[in-house]
């Protein structure tokens, strides 16, 4: 492979130390074509379809009452879910990284479970618990509490699927940082909360923000789990992704892609903020979902 002709390759490298220029170019082209077909075109389609009938139709799509109700419900869900799972993530990371106890590794694995379970199952377990034929269904019905096919169900299902995000950003970070700084603060007379607020929190802030960002993105975009519990009631229990689905299935493509384009912009903002946070944190943030 590395014949002498390869010596003219690239940036004056020893031939065997890198691929020849042809292999290089071929690999870059393969990567670029794959990137184009699987990432760029799907994005472009959303905006082209959304604007197919002009700006007025686009605007009508995102400002009709059902769309506005969907946007409101999505924002409400994120506002409720993100703080709860942030507090959980901090508590879980503190327990798991600052102390040793039996079953710690099992606990870390269990925190990851919602990621490895189908979102459909994440929604359906709450139907089994709170739905009318479910375990607590008759009792809830008798007390006139609606969870399934209502807003609380949407929120609980979203809590399930976004539970691990903050914890799994913080755990590796806090493991690396150890406990020396906190112990020093405590020995100098700080109490527990002071230690957490002045020592731990500044140390983990970029990782924490990144976890919150991912949690928020998923809370806004969750589809499978929410689809099972929401009942798709227009104007009441439809989140933005569910509204996109209903419109698409009604062949109302312009409005569907218009609402979808808002979600694409949210995804873009998430990626841009991630890049900014990475530059600030000066380390590569672990991504996986």
């Amino acid at each position: 492979m590395a014949r002498a002709s390869g010596a003219s390759a690239g940036q004056g490298l020893v031939p065997a130390l890198s691929e020849g220029p042809r292999v290089r170019a071929a690999l870059i082209v393969v990567a670029a074509v794959f990137f184009l077909f699987f990432l760029l075109l799907p994005l472009l389609v959303v905006f082209v379809e959304a604007l197919r009938q002009g700006l007025a139709a686009y605007w009508a799509g995102i400002s009709e009452p059902e769309a506005r109700a969907a946007i409101r419900l999505t924002l409400l869900t994120a506002i409720v879910v993100v703080p709860i799972n942030t507090l959980f993530g901090i508590a879980a990371a503190w327990a798991v990284t600052k102390f040793n106890f039996v079953g710690k590794n099992l606990l870390i694995t269990l925190i990851d479970v919602p990621f490895s379970v189908s979102p459909v199952i994440g929604g359906m377990v709450f139907v089994l618990l709170f739905g009318l034929p479910g375990l607590l269904g008759p009792w809830l019905a008798a007390h006139d509490v609606k969870i399934i096919f209502a807003v609380p169900g949407v929120i609980i299902a979203t809590l399930f699927v976004t539970l691990p995000f903050v914890a799994r950003e913080l755990i590796p970070l806090m493991q690396k940082q150890g406990t020396d700084q906190e112990e020093a603060a405590l020995m100098l007379g700080a109490n527990g909360w002071q230690t957490f607020l002045r020592i731990t929190l500044p140390n983990i802030k970029w990782g924490l923000l990144y976890g919150i960002l991912l949690c928020n993105g998923r809370a806004i975009g969750e589809f499978g789990a929410v689809a099972v519990v929401s009942g798709h009631i227009m104007g009441l229990t439809n989140t933005m992704p569910l509204h996109v689905e209903v419109l698409y299935n009604d062949f109302n493509f312009v409005a569907s892609f218009a609402v979808a384009s808002l979600l694409v912009m949210m995804a873009f903002a998430t990626l841009v903020l991630k890049t900014v946070l990475e530059a600030r944190a000066a380390w590569k943030l672990p991504t996986l979902p």
Partner: protein, 278 residues
């Protein structure tokens, strides 16, 4: 790690509070609901479980979900490896944009990916039209399911291989050159062995994600029972028909498959860490 492992006491406060919050919340939101699912499935009885899982419709859905997920993981292993290699080792225009956008399938809501891919590969869509002329139909076939799953799993292999490739010691390759090795030998004996566990981990993560995927698939798949109907959709349909025992049995089978995969991923990640550590 080693020093933390030896120390069994600490003066840090808050173990009771933080562990209490963690266990209570995790129990209420995840562990109890999932146990209810498994208990209800067991309640259905062996005959019902067998009848559900062995029904032709469920078998076809399992075959489709696991088969396409496997092929998608394979595609992602190959193209993810090429993307990671190109991003780490080469310089070219647009490299940083490409790097930043690899995470898009994680950030993009699955329903948006679903309608977008369905539109793109429909017989009158940008790519679907050209493919239809070549006699290939993607939308409303198992091939459409595969396309959606490749999209969803794209970042996993790239993001597991990238850090390992970045930390790979170039001096090892230089030493191999000085010892007279040819490029092909160096790739096979020096470069690939430490990367293999990372590729395997990424592909397994992509596979685990793909078998449960719902939003990005249902729009492009056409959802014909026995032909292009995935398992998560079958669960949803059974729920909508109030066939709770049927949905419970199938969901439990998926849940157990997910747990096995989670275990495999943990083992693979431990292997990567041992490569990096020593």
């Amino acid at each position: 790690m080693a020093s933390a492992g030896r120390r069994t006491w600490t003066i840090l406060p808050g173990l009771g509070l933080s562990l209490g919050i963690t266990l209570t919340y995790l129990g209420l939101i995840v562990l109890i609901p999932l146990s209810v699912l498994l208990v209800k499935a067991a309640d259905a009885g062996a005959a019902k479980i067998w009848a559900e899982l062995a029904s032709p419709r469920a078998l076809a859905a399992f075959r489709l979900s696991f088969g396409t997920a496997f092929l998608a993981a394979l595609c992602n292993a190959i193209f993810g490896f090429i993307l990671a290699w190109v991003l780490v080792r080469y310089q070219f225009a647009g490299r940083r944009l490409m790097d930043a956008m690899i995470d898009l399938p994680f950030a993009l809501p699955t329903a948006v990916a679903g309608i977008s891919l369905a539109q793109l590969y429909a017989s009158n869509g940008w790519l679907g039209y050209a493919l239809a002329k070549a006699g290939i139909s993607v939308a409303f076939t198992p091939l459409g399911v595969l396309v959606a799953l490749v999209f969803v799993g794209l970042p996993f292999v790239v993001r597991t291989v990238q850090p390992v490739l970045e930390e790979l010691d170039r001096e090892m390759e230089e030493a191999a050159v000085l010892l007279g090795a040819r490029r092909r030998e160096i790739l096979r004996r020096v470069v690939l062995p430490p990367l293999l566990p990372a590729v395997m981990t990424g592909a397994t993560l992509a596979f685990a994600r793909a078998i449960g995927e719902y939003g990005s698939v249902i729009f492009i798949a056409g959802n014909m029972p026995g032909y292009s109907e995935i398992v998560p959709l079958l669960i949803v349909i059974k729920l909508e028909q109030f066939d709770y025992p049927g949905a419970t049995v199938i969901a439990s089978a998926m849940l157990i498959a997910s747990f096995i995969l989670l275990l495999a991923i943990n083992v693979l990640q431990a292997r990567i860490r041992s490569w990096q550590g020593g």
